[in-house]
């Protein structure tokens, strides 16, 4: 691997590193409870909460590390963490 002058890298290229494999627990939405308050989307440190056309959200399991922050903070308990099974 050669190093570019100045060590310059292209923007946003860490997306090649799919960190979803780190996950022990998987967040699941209960859309009956979700109020679309956007808190999970704002807080997610891995940018793994993606807005859908209907205003609800989906998790991006390619990158979600399963930290559980969204589930802990959700004001209406609409996110459940379940054990990953492989």
């Amino acid at each position: 691997m050669s190093i570019t002058p100045g060590g310059i890298c292209k923007p946003g290229t860490t997306i090649s590193n799919k960190t979803g494999g780190w996950r022990n627990f998987r967040p699941i939405y209960d859309y009956d409870k979700c109020t679309k308050c956007k808190l999970c989307e704002l807080l997610c440190p891995d940018m793994s909460v993606l807005e859908r056309e209907d205003g609800y959200y989906d998790f991006d399991y390619d990158y979600c590390k399963g930290c559980g922050l969204c589930a802990n903070e959700c004001p209406v308990d609409a996110i459940e963490m379940i054990l990953e099974e492989k």
Partner: protein
């Protein structure tokens, strides 16, 4: 909305650094240049040959983030390209309070138009949780371990916002990732003010402090609710706003959730040490008029 920080970075689950970086970019938008001295944020977002950043970003050394930011700002001005571009430092507490303080002091003395954000997770997390000037009293780190003769870090936390205020900075504020809207409001305000501005942000670190990854925000809120982390803004030397603490909680509630304070609950004499920490919180209430 285009996300300016990409996933795939190698930060721990529930990392405080990436949350603060994300909030900063959401507050400022695309037109900014970020400088990150050595630290977790730098290491986890720039594994060569990749980068998580979708804005111009440069890695400086631990000790020269202030100088690099000064140089970028001065160059933009010299080329008549400054306009609304924000020059922003996102640094850790070690790079700010200890190793970088000289170059930051110079940048603020010269009055460069920069925003300096210190992500304070209260120790050198990237190298293995060594004590920094930001480590709070009685916290265990690998270089200030609790044991038979010690309750952990014996020294008080350095008051960095006061040091930056003493430089005559037009805007100095404390913030926390636990109240992201308040944090983003302060970043926007710092961006709207000409001259060097400083934001000191509380950043609970799951790995270094020892708590479950889901609790990052909860612990951040507790620091504010116990008055151990007062939220205030200083404009031109005068405190202009504080977040009042309603129904103040005892410091035990904050300390008990973190392994770095575990010895205070298991070791003989711990109660007196907790009382000393409570006194720090009580003093904050008096100093900043939090109630």
């Amino acid at each position: 909305m285009k996300e300016l920080l990409s996933p795939g970075h190698t930060a721990c689950p529930a990392c405080c650094d990436t949350m603060i970086a994300k909030f900063t970019l959401r507050a400022l938008g695309e037109d900014c240049i970020i400088i990150s001295p050595t630290g977790c944020l730098e290491v986890t977002t720039s594994a060569f040959p990749t980068s998580s950043w979708n804005v111009p970003w440069i890695h400086s050394l631990f000790e020269n983030a202030g100088a690099v930011a000064s140089g970028i700002e001065a160059a933009l001005k010299a080329m008549n390209k400054k306009e609304d571009t924000k020059v922003v430092v996102l640094a850790g507490d070690g790079g700010t309070l200890d190793i970088g303080i000289r170059s930051i002091s110079g940048a603020f003395e010269r009055g460069h138009d920069i925003i300096y954000i210190c992500i304070d997770n209260e120790a050198y997390m990237n190298t293995g949780v060594q004590r920094s000037g930001a480590t709070p009293f009685n916290a265990t780190t690998t270089t200030s371990p609790s044991g038979k003769v010690s309750f952990g870090n014996p020294l008080p936390k350095k008051n960095m916002p006061a040091i930056m205020n003493a430089h005559g900075a037009p805007y100095v504020a404390t913030a926390t990732l636990a109240y992201p809207k308040d944090f983003m409001k302060k970043v926007k305000k710092a961006g709207s003010i000409e001259g060097p501005t400083y934001i000191h942000a509380h950043a609970p670190c799951t790995t270094g402090w020892g708590f479950d990854t889901s609790k990052t925000v909860e612990i951040g809120k507790l620091a504010v609710q116990t008055a151990l982390w007062p939220l205030y803004e200083i404009e031109n030397g005068t405190i202009t706003s504080v977040k009042k603490v309603k129904n103040k909680k005892p410091v035990e509630e904050y300390l008990r959730m973190q392994k770095r304070f575990k010895h205070l609950f298991t070791k003989e004499g711990g109660e007196e040490e907790i009382a000393k920490i409570q006194k720090i919180a009580d003093e904050n209430i008096d100093i900043f008029g939090l109630q």
